[in-house]
Every structure is written in C-alpha cells, then in structure tokens.
Amino acid sequence: MENPSVHWNQFDRYYYQKRLVFHMGWNEINLDHYLIESAPFGGLIALLRDDQKIINIKNIQTNKNCIFIYTCSGKLISKLDYGDKQRVKAFGWTLDEKLIIVYDDCEIVVFDIFGEKIKTKCITSRDSTVHLVYKAKVWHNGAVILTKKNRLFIVENLSQPRFEEYSVPENLGIVSDLEILQPKFSLTGHTEVFISNLAKNLFIIDNDQTLEIEFEEMITNLKVSPTGRLLAYYTETGNLHVISTDFKSHFLEFQMNSKIKPKQIAWCSSDTVLLNFEKKNTLLMVAPSQSFLKYEYDEPLYLMTEEDGIRILTNSCCEFLSKVPEVVVNIFGIGSTSFSSLLYDASQSYEKESSKGDEVIRSKMDLLPKAITDCITASSWVFQRDLQKKLLNAAAIGKSYLDNFVHDIFADMCKDLRVLNEVRGWEIGMPLTYRQFEKIGIDLLIERLINRKHHYVALKICEYLRIRKDRVLVRWACEKVKSETESDEQILKSIISKLGKEENVSFASIASVAYSESKNDLAIKLLDYEKSASEQVPLLINMKNPGLALIKAIECANPDLIYLVLLYLLNTLDINENSLFQILSHKDMAINLLIKYCKHKNKDLLYRLYSQLKREPKEVGLLKITESLSDKINLEMKLKIRNESLIAFGVSKNNFLKKITEDNIKLVKLQQDYQQRLELVFIGLSINQTTAKLLELDLEKEAKKMKKTFKIPNDRYWWIKLRALAKKHRWKKMYAWAKNEKSPIGYEPFVEICIKNRVGNEALNYIPLVKDPYNQVKFYLRLNKFEQAADIAIKEKNQNLLQHVKSLAPKNLNIPSHI
C-alpha cells in the first residue's frame, strides 16, 4: 500500500489533501445550468435550473418548477415541486436538511425534502402592498430579504419565524453583493447584513444602526469565514482582501490583476480563501502568506465551505479538500521520527510476524500513551477503511503494552467510525468528517437519516450506540400510517409488532398523524397503546371524541384531564345537553367534578343534571336548601326556593326535613313581622336566638308564642330565659321567677350564671334551692362562704366534707372540726 502522503500538497506551511469522495451517480447533469445550494456537514444538494442560461433539456416541460435534490453521491432523492405561481429568489438548507425557499413575493417556505410544507411565513404589511424581492440570502436558521423598494427584512429563527425590519440607507443604489453575519457570531447578538454597491460603498447594517465605508474600488464578492471572524472580499480590479468582521484589522491583500469576477469565494478552514473562476475552470487557493495554489478543472465547479475544509462538486465527482492534521503528518510524513509513526511501523512489522516491533515499542514506554491516542485520532481523519483499520490496529497493539490505558476512547472511536463509514457509503452519501460529526452530533445525524426515510439505518445506529430509538420508531410509524396501499388493520399490526414492546414510544404522536390523514379508526386504535393519559386526552378531544377522552381521563384519575374534557363539553355548542348526559352516565368521578363546577358556575344545569341522574328528591331538596342559604340572594328568593324544597321533601316522604323546613319558613315570616314592628334585626337568628332576643326585650308573651309554635321543650325554654335575664342583668326578675315557678332544670344553672356574671350575692339566693348538698357546698366554697358550707356539711353529717371545708377555710374563721 502506498504511503498516504503521496497525495498531499505542501502549501504554505501545511500539507493539504484533496480526497475524492464520490463519483457522482447522476447522469447528464451539467452544474453550469443550475443554481446550486448544498446543506453543510456533507448534506444534500439542491439544484434549481438557472433560467438565465439557455440550454436544451429534453424533458424541460416535465421538470418545470422543480428543484432536484441529490445526495453528495449524486443519488436523486426527490424532485421538489415549488409551485408555478411564484419564482424562487433564494434557497438554502437547515441543519436537519429542510429546504428553505424565498419566493419573489417575500414568502418564505420551509419544505421537507419530499415537498411537504412545514412552515410558511410571509411579510404582511398594513397597506397590503406586495413586497418584491430584490436580493435574498438564506442561512441555516434564517434569511435576509432586500426588497425592490429598498426595505430590509430579517428572519432569525425559522422554527418560530418572525420578520424584523432593519432601516436601509437611502444611498444604497445598485447592489453588487450581499452577505450575512449570523447572530451567533455578531457582537450585538443580532444578524448583521453586509451590502456592497456599485458606488463602491460597503454598508454594515444591524438592528439599530448602519455603518457606511467607502472603498476605492467596487466590491464584487463578499464571503464570511465559517467561524464568522473574517470577511473575504473581491474587488472589480481583481484584488482579494481579508479583514476581520469587526473591520478593525486587515490581514491580506492579494492582487490577481484579473478583471474576471469569480463565480464563488469560499473558505477552506478559517485561514485559506478559495476563488472559483468558472470561466477559466480553475480553482485558486490563497493562503494568508499570499502564497497560492492552482487546481485546474475541465468542468464547472461548485464550492461548499465546511467547518474543516471544503467540498468541491463537479459534474463527475465530489471531492473534499482539507488540511492534513498534525497527528496524521506525524505518522505518515516522510522521515517522521515521532513515536506514533514508530508505533505504526512496529504494528506493520507485527503483521509480518517480526519481533522488531516489540523492541521499538519497549524502547520508549513513556511516550506510548500519547502515540496510541495519536493513532486513534489519526484514524478519525482518514476515509479509507483499510487505513483506519491499520491505525486502530497500531493503537490496539500499543494498548496491549499498558495496563492502565483508558479503553473508552478506543472503543468509542471504533463505534463512531463504523457509523461514519455507514453514512459515508454511496447509498446514503453523506461525506461527514469526524470533526463535522462531532459538531452536529448524533441526534442531528439521526434526524437527517429519518428525514431521508433511512429509518432502518437510523434504528440500527441507535441500537448499536445504545441511544434512545423511540424517535426513529415513531417517525417510521408515522410514515407507515400514511401508507395508502395497506389496510388500517395491516398498518396497525405492523406498527404494533415493532413498537408494541417498546417502553417509551409516544403512540399519541403516531395517532395524531393518522388523524390528520383522516384515518380516525386507526388513530383511536393507536391511541389505545398510549400509556400517558395526558397525551391521549387532548388528542381525543381534538378528534372530537370526548366520550373516549373522558374514559381515558377517568382511568388515570387525573382531575385536570377530566376538567379538560368537561369544559370542552360545556363550551362546545354542537354538543347538546342530552349527549352530555349520555357521555357522563355512570361516570361518578366526572359527575361529581361537574357538580362541583356547576355549583359555582351553572346552577340551572345542576338541577337538570340531578333530574337526569335520577337523584333522590331529598338530594334535590337539600340542594335547594343549600342554594337558599347563599347570602347572595334576597329573602323573598330564599323563601321561594325553600318552598320549592318542601315539594321535594314531600315527594321523598321525608317528614322530618319537611317539618324542619316548614318551621324555618314560619320562623322567617315571624321574624319579618318582628323586624317590621320592632325595627330590629331578627332575620338570620335561630329559634333560640329569636326567643332569647324577645325575652331580652321583655316580650314574654311573644317568647311564649315562639315556645308554643315551635314546641320548645320547657327545659330549653328555661335555659334561654335564664341566659336572657342574666344578659340584661335582671337579677330581681330572675329571683322572682325562680320563686314563683319550679325550675325544671334545677337551680345549679342559676348559681353558675350568677357566679359567671360576678354577682355572688345573687348566687347565694339560689344555693339553698340546689338539691344536692354536695353541690351546695361546692358553690359556697367557690364563693368563699366557708361557714355556710360548714353548716351544710354538719347538716348532712358528713365529717369528711366538713374536714374538706375546714382545710380550705382561712384559719381565723371559726369552723368546727367535728359535727
């Protein structure tokens, strides 16, 4: 095998290699006839026929209004029909390979590669004038549009597109080129727009200001470097300049002395500029040191700047030009003495079963770890599989000499290379370098594969790298659902056979595709497999299937989801009450939540619901009572509702409740009467309170009437009267009452209430009336009447009691110690 270094070109201080990646699989494509845009990171190529070129294509009619989408290996993915109403003014790619098109009427559309519109955004102006595009430029997450009336619009985030307008200087004139500095590179965090014009000006425009620089000659081409730090421009007299994008430093001036305008300027890495002179079929590479290198071609070229090199596309092949990294130079460079190179050679001699390698490796064990990692790193750069293998083999042999080498980087590299080799194959045709792969990450790579419908490869990669594969499966299933050849049954069966056992698959998203494809039955069946009710329920509501939605919401007992359905049911006009009740039948949890809601919001519905549910009339009656107790309604209304409840209680033969309610209505009427007569508040008081109030007002007759009307027991009446008299301090009246009538509640309450009101002398009146002598003693003691207490004890002949009294009494009192 020849040494890889034979293909290197030394240039400036470095080696560069132009590697052939693919022979194009397309037929009869002449790049000269097309406008071309390719997605970064080895992405797809879009070809739009350049209508300024007169050409003769046989099937021009059938391919009208088409953008051809090819892989880098020239395999046709699709013909995207962009419509015949508008003209395409600019196009480009998102990172996950969706095609962005800017039409001449300022509409921006994002398509997937099979022509489905994903996002559409148009400038809307108040006066409904149509803006026409003068110049437009697209980058992976945005676009800039300059209209014919010199208005400049920017879109920065295509997932939620919004137009922002920058003010444009009046002297803009005729534009020679337009370039963008992406927001992530600019100091302000906003997109910056560079516009050069025929009047030799360069304008730098951002969201709040415009900078104008006058040049000595006209700028024809502008190109920002991949890191956004540098700007290369080409002037009409054939000078190439490189300056910093903040316009503070000037790095290069290179005189071509040629007035031919290059078709493209591009960057290889961030320090070398390439000029594509179409008419001469030459590619000129210029280094910061002003040294240059010329590549001759016999066919048209298209250049695609990548992070770590440049992709060169011709009619016949796809090449990749990049700097040879130092680790690789160290291994394969002629006369290299680095240890990695020795390790590589040693591993080769191992192959030949020579022991020379062993000595070499053992000679400098301290350098071995670095040599191993160098071999691993180098393997990431090379494209040929056999060379990758040899380098990894060298690393493996070196590794076997070390006990503590961390295995991970080796294993990871093997895995990553296997994945990269797969996508670099002709079939997928994505010439990703390892650096680019690191940059876009596995997620985006998988996303690209899914977008290209390489579900199987994507799945295998996920399984191989052990990352989550549900996304792949779900997207596959979403495609499957769209199938028009298979029956719903077949589709469901094949989806379940592949996804049924997966733990974390969102069946709701598959179902939602089925629904949008108007396959409702399939959607519902798919939803059955969804484990998360919070995903099922909203979709079922969307599908206008509230019944099933409610069942699912109840299944998981989540009140929020139940309310979601209930509110939908209540607010959707085409659902009448009968079908509401039908949906609700036997669903207690939902019914109870609805009742709770109705109590706040919709009382009428509540009663209809009760009657629909055939709730007992007693319940209805109690509901009415509850309603009547609200302080938001007036008395008349309260009585009306309470009267209605009487009917319900009557029906349910609930005599107790009926009686109580009747009493209440009677009470309220009496209270109304008192209120009018006495001009005092009675409404709201209980029967006890009303009676007490009457007694406090000395309206004994009225109180007696209350007693009779409501059958207040005598005991309770005495208690009420007792409290009423005490409250009004009518002690004399109380005493007279106690003397005239025999108390049914005893006289203890009389004593207690006097003590409580601190009228001890009054209390003394009643103690003799207390029956229980023990209680008498207790009361006397509480009032500090020790002599009286002693008298009782003596009268009762209770020595212990007497002793107790004596022990509590002050010493100076003459309490006998014996009976």
Binding site: S532, L629, F656, W719
Partner: protein
C-alpha cells in the same frame, strides 16, 4: 425565627432533608429568576407552611421587598414585580383577577395623566409603572384555574407557572401536604386530591427510593396505589429515555429508605378524631388550635404583657423539652415539668461548686443549653398550668370527658348530658362530636331520639345545620340504629383492646385519650406486632376487597434491599403511614409511643393530607358561610 425542622437527626429518613432542601431551592430559583425587587403575595393558607420551607430573612435576600397576604382587597405598592404564590382555588383566582384589573385601571389612569403633562415627565417613568404579575400555583396549575383566569381576561397579563411544593416536613417524622380541604372534598364526591396525594408520594419516592411495599386499607387507599402504579409506569418510560443522556441518580438507583408505605383512609376510623385529645400536643390543638406546627397564644397565658399580638410558639422537636413531653398524657405534664425544673436548677447550682478555670469553662459551655431549656421550660410550665386549670375547673369539660369514656367503654348513651350541652348552647362542634360519637359507638341512635336531637340542634344553632347534619349522615357518622353489625365499634373494641383504664401505669398508647386508644393506631399495631392473634378474618369483614399489599420493587431492587438490610441489621425498617383525610396529634403521639415498643421491628413515620381534629371534621361538614 426559622421554623425549619432540623432534619440532620440520624433517626429520620436520610434523604428527607434533601427532599425538603430541593423544594426550598425551587422556590429560591423562582425568586432569583425574577431579577428585580418584588412583592410576594401569599395565600394565607400557605403562609405558615412556607415558614417551614424558608424564612423571611432568606426571602429578603432574594429581593422580596414586601410581603402581602392575599385578600380580595387590592393593595398598593410601588413595586413593579408582583409574585403571587397561591393554592389553585377558584376564589384565589377571582381575587387575583380583581387585583390585576384594579392595577390596570390605576395604570391606565396614571398613563393618561402622564400623557397630559408630557412635557414634565418622560416616557421612561411611564413604562416603569407597568406591573409584571407572576402567578405561581402551588403545587400545580389546574385546568380550572387556567380557564378561570382566561374567562376573567387576565391570563394574558400574568405569567402563569407552578411551584411544586407538596409534602412539607412538619417534623422529622411527620410529613404533611398542608391541604386541609381533602376531607370536605371527599364528602362532596370530589376525589381529585387522591391524584395529588399520589403525585406527592411519587415525588417523595424519587428522593427516598421506591418503597418496596405499598399496603392499603380502604377504597381511597386502593385508588392511590393504582394511581401510583400508573405514575411509576409512565416514569419508567421517561427514565429509560433519559438513561443514556445522563446516568445520574434516578429513583430506581436510590436504595429504598422507606421499606413500606401504609395508606390509611380517615374514613375507616372516624371515631378517634371525635374523642377529645388528651396528649399534651393534642390538648393544645383542641384548646388553642395549632396551625402548621405553630401555636398562637394570648401572652397572658405565658405571663407576658399584652401587646395586642399573639405570642407565636413553634412546636417541634427542635425544642428538645417539647419533644420529650408532647406525647405524654396532659395529667403527667405537671409532675414531669417540675422534675425537669429541679434538674435545670441543679444544673445552675453546679456553678456554686466550680473551683478550677477548666470547670468554669465547661460550665459556660453547658450554660447555653441550660438557658435554652430554661426558657422552653418556663413556656411549657405556663401553658401546662393554664391547661391544668381548665381541666380541673371547667365543669363541662370534666363531664364531657366522663361521658365520652362511658360511651366508649360501656357503650351506654349519655343522652341527658348531650341534651344539656345543647341547652347550655355549648359550641356546636362539641355537641355534634358527642352526638356522632354516640351514633358510631352505639351503632346508631334510635330514630325518635335522633329526630329529637336534630330538631333541638337546628332550633338552637340555626337552620343551616340541616346541611351539616345531612353531611354527617352521608358520612355515616350519624345514623338511625339498626341491628347488630359485624363491622360495629363493639367488635373493634373487643378485638383490638381499645380500652385500658390503667393507662398511666402501662405507658401504652391508651394514654393519648386517657383510656381509649385510637382504632387506627391499634389496627396498625395489630398489623406489625408479632401477636398470635389472627386478625385476617376480622379485617376481611371490615375492608372486604379494599385492602392488600402491592409489591412494587423490581428484582434488582430486592437485592438492593437485602444488601441494605444486611448493612443495617440493627436498624428498624421504616414504615410511612399515610393518612388520607387527616391525622390527629394524638394518633401521631400514639405512633411515637409504639415506636418505643420492643415488640415491633419497624419504625413509623407519618404522612398526611393535614392535621385534623374533631372540630375540624365537624367544620368540614358544615356549610361554609364565609365563602364568597
């Protein structure tokens, strides 16, 4: 004053602190994400629970310049960033909507006046007046609240988000959702809180590990187990999708620190909360009301000058003395405290015998602790005195305790006393508690008698109690007497030895109600104590098919468990007893007493929706009058 519980104690669940701190951090992250001086508007229902999570000083540090309690009255402030931290209730949403309409009105009038003197004042100040309103719902945004804000037309002018505060450590062995409405919601047939309980337990388990066993008693408990299983399934799905991205700690990796979750439905034992609590902490709750571990007392009780404000006393195990006495029967408090007082005085007296400098240094080291104990002692001495005075002198209290015990012990009614309570117009809660206790313990009340009491109650306390009584009937707390039932109280009493008059001597859990032990706790004791008696048939009759054990550990979890079991063979397994619908302080005390028993090889900690008592249960059944 920080009310946060010290969770470094070795006996608590190790990751409980992590769990609490996580919730604290979430709040602080919310506050620091709003990078401006702000006014914090708290739901009164959250004000106390929040003090267990974060203290006011920390809030100040996070640029909370003003604190408000949410009321329907809009407040005035010059602050431009207002953060509402509220429960997701309809009335709260209405209040917030009102505030926002109010401030918008003011704002537009300000703008107008500004516009008229445009020369004097610039645009900038104009903009500054614009308020930004953040509404954080605790613990979740609900569909209804979102809709309500939408209907009130303010959804567009607030930033709506959630603060996931659910289980709050009330102590090192008590976790509460501080959600007092669940009992009332159950009564109304609204079982939403089961979902929220499940979510909270699920979250807890992501910190302390998946409890290998779930044990449940009652239909509500069973539902929770079902929801938990569903959540777990969903979780596994998310977990496996995260597995590759970060191999960090997922719940299945944490070794279970709680061996079992026991779910108990409050409705299974409605008797115990009705019985007056006589443990020290329970008694404090009955007499003065403890709100979220804080006791608010009239300064007079503490022999302090009246200031018009109530004295706030935090009740938790940070107060070592309180931790010792909280579970004792109130009659034991006096003697215990005087012994303690002598001990402390003895401690002070040590100083008289100090000779060397070293001894002095040692003594001053102890002095801090002594002083702390001393101040706690004087507080509790004052409180104990007040309680004792009440217990001794209040005639009604004395008779109430006696009649309760008669009903519970002899299953004989005390109707006369009940009648007298009504005639004396004792608090309605007291009356209804005793009435319900009669009905539950005696397996119903004779129809005529019941109608009499119902009429007496309605005539005395007002017509609205027709609803209260009906609610109590719905719950089965009041019923007309029927024939004998196997599920009756007498059966429980016999099977579980609910009564022990010698409670002071035996140091058992009967002390929490002076002779009666809560059924709930007795059942738990029976489940875990290695007794010869077989309760199976008995439990079967009561719970029918709504009890069981669900093993939720996977295979490798079991291995983990065995491993950890081997590691700490001396450590008892921890069982989280979760009460759905509330637990009383007496019940918590009883569980703590059980924890000291040698016959048990498990240790209980308590989880609950809220801390309840008989009065609260009766109130939950009464028609709310204040709600507008």
């Amino acid at each position: 004053m920080s009310l946060q519980i010290n969770l470094d104690n070795l006996s608590s669940v190790p990751n409980l602190k992590l769990f609490r701190d996580f919730q604290t951090k979430e709040l602080l992250n919310i506050l620091s994400s709003i990078n401006a001086p702000k006014g914090l508007v708290l739901d009164p229902a959250l004000a106390n629970p929040l003090t267990l999570i974060v203290d006011v000083r920390t809030l100040k540090k996070y640029a909370v310049d003003q604190l408000f309690l949410l009321s329907s009255k809009p407040f005035d402030t010059s602050l431009t960033h207002i953060v509402y931290l509220v429960r997701p209730t309809m009335s709260n949403m209405k209040k917030i909507a009102k505030h926002i309409h109010h401030s918008e009105k003011i704002n537009s009038s300000v703008t107008e006046t500004r516009r008229s003197n445009r020369e004097e004042q610039g645009n900038e100040t104009n903009q500054k007046r614009q308020r930004t309103n953040y509404v954080f719902l605790v613990p979740r945004i609900t569909t209804l609240c979102r809709k309500l804000l939408e209907y009130s037309g303010v959804l567009g002018s607030v930033i709506l988000d959630e603060y996931h505060l659910d289980l709050i450590p009330y102590d090192e062995d008590v976790l509460s959702l501080a959600y007092s409405k669940s009992f009332r919601e159950f009564l109304k047939g609204d079982t939403s809180s089961l979902f929220y309980i499940s979510r909270a337990l699920h979250k807890l388990q992501s910190f302390v590990g998946q409890a290998p066993r779930l044990r449940y008693y009652g239909t509500r408990s069973k539902s929770i187990v079902e929801i938990l299983r569903r959540l777990r399934r969903q979780d596994r799905r998310e977990e496996s999708s995260q597995q590759q991205s970060e191999n960090s700690s997922s719940s299945s990796v944490i070794k279970p620190q709680i061996a079992e979750i026991l779910l108990i439905d409050r409705h299974f034992d409605l008797i115990s909360p009705l019985v007056h609590q006589l443990s020290y902490e329970g008694m404090l709750d009955e007499l003065y009301g403890i709100t979220d571990t804080v006791l608010e007392l009239d300064p007079k009780i503490l022999n302090k000058p009246r200031t018009g404000k109530k004295e706030r006393i935090p009740l938790n195990s940070n107060d070592l003395l309180f931790a010792e006495i909280r579970d004792l029967n109130q009659s034991q408090i006096g003697p215990y405290l005087s012994r303690k007082a002598r001990e402390i005085m003895g401690g002070y007296d040590e100083r008289k015998n100090l000779k060397t400098i070293r001894e002095f240094r040692n003594f001053t080291g102890k002095l801090g602790k002594l002083q702390k104990e001393h101040s706690s002692l004087s507080t509790h001495l004052s409180i104990a005195e007040a309680i004792n005075k009440y217990a001794m002198e209040d005639q009604l209290f004395h008779r109430l305790m006696n009649s309760q015990l008669t009903v519970l012990t002899e299953c004989e009614p005390c109707y006369d006393f009940l009648e007298e309570l009504i005639y004396q117009e004792a608090p309605i809660e007291t009356v209804l508690r005793l009435l319900c206790l009669h009905s539950l313990a005696l397996n119903g009340i004779k129809s005529k008698k019941l109608d009499f009491f119902r009429k007496e109650i309605i005539q005395t306390y007002g017509f609205q109690h027709i609803i209260t009584l009906n609610n109590l009937e719905k719950l089965g707390m009041i019923k007309k007497s029927e024939g004998r039932s196997k599920r009756s109280y007498t059966n429980w009493k016999k099977q579980l030895n609910l009564i022990d008059h010698e409670f002071t001597k035996n140091n058992g859990i009967h002390s929490v109600h002076s002779g009666y032990a809560p059924i709930s706790i007795k059942l738990i004791q029976a489940l875990y104590e290695n007794s010869k008696k077989d309760y199976n048939e008995f439990i079967q009759t009561y719970f029918q098919d709504s009890y069981g054990i669900y093993t939720q550990s996977s295979k490798n979890l079991n291995e983990d468990l065995q491993e950890s079991e081997q590691q700490n063979r001396n450590e008892k397994d921890i069982v989280l007893v979760f009460f759905i619908g509330g637990v009383t302080y007496s019940e918590i005390s009883a569980l703590r007493i059980l924890n000291q028993s040698e016959n048990l090889n498990v240790r209980f900690i308590v989880g609950t929706t809220d801390i309840t008592n008989g009065d609260k249960i009766i109130k939950a059944c009464s028609k709310k009058t204040s709600e507008k």
